[in-house]
């Protein structure tokens, strides 16, 4: 590409669409139920373990109150953290890219341009299937950190998004590729 054609394209950076001002969509509220169920299963397994320990080992029964207190505190903290992270998650599909925002303490936003997506995966777990939810994974060549995993999308919507993205992938791939600068 020569410089002449580029100067024609010079654009005002401030007039570009702003990714940070996009209205994000949040995971379906049923997804919170799934998180709760998963957490409850996890906590009850630990709980059962603790109870058996308390019953069978006499030495630690003196500390049973402390152990239970720690357990309850842990449960509360976990639920709180997951609630916060659930509230913070959001995604948006734009014409040319996908945006995903997440993070409990630090808010991180990852943007994947559609023409950089390598492949797409749609996962449905047993639990999420009963709630009609699915999760979408978008892979890029950017490795582990450069991919997006959006959970808790209503399955119909997830399929629509997948088809939409796939269609766009095909389109971008069939387009003639510009010569490299």
């Amino acid at each position: 590409m020569s410089t002449e054609t580029f100067t024609n394209e010079v654009i005002d950076i401030n007039s570009l669409p702003k990714y940070e001002e996009i209205e994000l969509q949040h995971p379906h509220s049923d997804y919170w139920k799934i998180i709760c169920i998963n957490l409850s299963v996890f906590l009850s397994i630990i709980g059962i373990g603790l109870v058996t320990l308390l019953i069978f080992i006499n030495e630690i029964s003196a500390y049973s109150f402390l152990i239970i207190a720690v357990y309850v505190a842990l449960a509360a903290i976990l639920f709180f953290l997951f609630r916060v992270s659930f509230k913070k998650r959001g995604y948006a599909i734009r014409t040319h890219d996908v945006i995903y925002k997440s993070g409990i303490i630090a808010e991180s936003t990852t943007i994947v341009p559609l023409n950089r997506i390598q492949h797409i995966e749609l996962n449905e777990g047993i639990l999420s299937r009963s709630f009609q939810l699915g999760s979408l994974q978008l892979f890029t060549a950017g490795g582990q950190t450069g991919h997006i995993h959006i959970s808790g999308i209503p399955i119909e919507k997830a399929k629509n998004i997948r088809d939409l993205l796939l269609k766009k992938l095909d389109l971008t791939e069939s387009q003639p590729i510009d010569p490299i600068v």
């Binding site: 401030n14 943007i111 060549a141 490795g143 010569p179």
Partner: protein, 501 residues
Amino acid sequence: MNNDFSKPQRQSAAGIVIMAAHTTLSIGRAFIFFIIYAFVKIQSAYLLYVLLGLAVMVLASFLFAYLWYIKFTFFLDKEKQEFIVNKGIFNRDQVIIQLDKIQQVNINQSILQKIIGVYGLKIDTAGAHGEEISIGAIDETSAYNLKAHLLHKKVIAESQQETEIETQSTEETPFLSISSWTLFKVGLTSNYGQSLALLAAFFYTVIYEGRQLLDSFKIDRNAIESTVTGMLTIVTAFILIGVLLAVLLVINMVRTFYKYFELQISLHKDALLLSSGLIAKKNTLVSPAKVQITKYSQNYFQKKLNMLNVSLKQAHFGESKKGHEMQGNTMEIPGCSPAECDELLRMILGKLPEPGKIFIPDWRFLNLPVFFKLILPVVIFLIIALNVPEVKPFIAAAVIYLLAGMVMIYLSYKKHRISVSEDFIVKKSGIWDISHEIITPYKIQAITTFQYPWHKGVDVGHLCLHTAAGQLRFKYGNYTEIKQLVNYWLYQVEHRNENWM
């Protein structure tokens, strides 16, 4: 052997020897101390059994190698543009590589291969980690034929794109070659860290295995240890440090010469052909379009000697879900003069990166490293020192550590910056080795920005650009500016559909 590789064929029969030697060596290496131990310790009556065991091992290696040779076939599917390898002694593995996914083809020759007169050929793909293909033994003409066939398709596809840039210099003469004198200087000035690690690993094995040997010889370890500690006066300590430094330099030198001896870069059609190596000559073909990150670095000594190290990082992705990040495969070209470096950059990027707008980090960049690397360790050390009398005399060391650490962190803060222009993003970083990493916006795969809630008020945030060869991070920048940059790069990536590889 036919020349177009369209029919399944085996490697050269010498492959059996290569493979057997390889297996024997790797088994031998795993048991080396065990074998020495056996020879030393075992009574001569049992020596026969040991020798017999070794013979069985070698025989088994040969059998294994023979079966491997029989089952290992490869061919080129012209229609589908695929290279197919069948292998596996007990299980049947088929590796299929699409030709356009091939990153590079390496032709190597180890000492053994040199003696037998065959070459090794390695195919590096853009696919997952384990799918690399390595053909152990192939004669020279076949090797170069196969290489040409494998890269043929790509050369056509890419030559159309880059003819304007490259045609003026298609002669095959090397445009860059590194002399032994330059290598000598490189060996003196770089890669201390790696050599140090090598040295440490070496000493660790020597000490560890030495102890085991001593145990087996029933030598009184205490006697040796006490003589060693007795020798450690201050004078000898200084001599020891001096010797260690000298050894370090020598190792550095040997490594540099071994890897980069007679390094030459020439233009081969549209790709760069790198060849180097002292004992095993290594040829690597790199297509400029596949280079994801171009990096050049320089430390203080090298600046005085007027030379730079250039490294080219290629994509080596593969969507690994298991969590281990793929290390990009990197090509190092040490000891370029500034002019040669510019030439190389021009070759790979099309033109030299022009100075762009510079973004520097906020002073809060200093907070975390100062706290975790300086204040926290020093406080812990002081607490220990005040309570343990043996450590007390070394309190002065904490001051030195604090000062040195302060200077280093400040330097890393001062050097951390990105410069953005229309066509390039250049990230500068480093403390001693100052490196510049250059990418073009269309190599970006994904962008992540993030911000801690306590930085919201002061408008500070972080940026991470994911490319197929690793990440580029810019920390503690002005978040408003970062967001603006991200929008700009997204525009650049999305409004044209440029190929990133």
